[in-house]
Amino acid sequence: MANSPFKTQWLRDDTLLVNPGTMLDADNAPEMVELISNTAQEPNRFVILDMRELEFISSAGVGSILGTVEMLRQNGGDIILCNMSPTIEHVFRVLDLLEYLSVRSTRDEALTACHS
């Protein structure tokens, strides 16, 4: 995680806040997969992906979330997406993922959802 290109912060012992920046695409998606996979090694871990700065997400970016979410869920945790712009939300809607993934409007709502 020390080498992660993303801004990260532990909000609680079990909840990692991740800001992917402006782009989540083929060039940084592998690092996102690694970051989430490492976090999922411990039980009951949550990742909050705060997308407030995210301007572009590619299929590889979506894949980095979709392909790791079950690792967390099967270990008692989850990925919570928040602060999506209308265009980013549109991508997840087009791919029919808004109901499958956990999505909240704000970071506070995401944090609440982690421990509800």
Binding site: D25, A26, D27, A29, V33, F56, S58, S59, A60, V62, G63, S64, L66, G67, T68, V69, E70, M71, P86, T87, H90, V91, V94, L95, D96, L97, Y100
Partner: protein, 244 residues
Amino acid sequence: MNANPDIKRAPSAVIAVSEELSKSARDRFSAELKEILAAAPEQVSLDCTRLTQVASSHIQYLWEAHEACARSRVRLVLTHVPRGLWRVLQVLDLAHLFSSDSESQKSRFETEFVSGESGISDAMALFTHYLEDKALPETTEFDLRALFYEVASNIRFHSDAHESLPVKFFAEIADNRIEMVFRDMGSEFDPTAAASEIDMQEAAQKGQTRGFGLLMIRKLADKVEYRRIEGTTNELILSKRLDG
């Protein structure tokens, strides 16, 4: 060609090209072109208004003018280019040889890029600038950028020719629809032949992190067409309505 072409002497000259295809018409065109170039104009303009039905001979006229002007180091400009003519020039890979002040060119974007990280990034920035000028709805503009990125990335990661030969990309907006054309010289690959649907929940269960690009292309574009050209070139054509 036109029996009475509108010829203006230097600094610029205009030939109003007619649709005639007879040998005498071709001879007149050649003679007019030669006469104009003898006056050493700064620019020759071919008014293509009448070329609404395009035949190979018309293309030969344009090619002859291109070659003659190049030899004389005179700028050649096509004016009032009907969309069909411009499309034929694109298909024949000749459009880049001509300057045009036509409406079709104003709505057209064209670039070449090497499909590495920086090449895709630079080309996408140019394409984004082109889209921003069109003042499209935000999600539509995003979709078009995403389509460009997904196809370019697919070529980057799966083509065996990406490091040696640039990818050609054209986009044209007409009748509230955009058409995006990608040409690369990699091995034959027909994305329309790939599986059309992916069960995303099943993919998640399997921990699949890649392989969603073609699905995204299909979801974001209204139409995806592929053809192999002359055994050397992959051509992928995406089209999408612009009104959401």
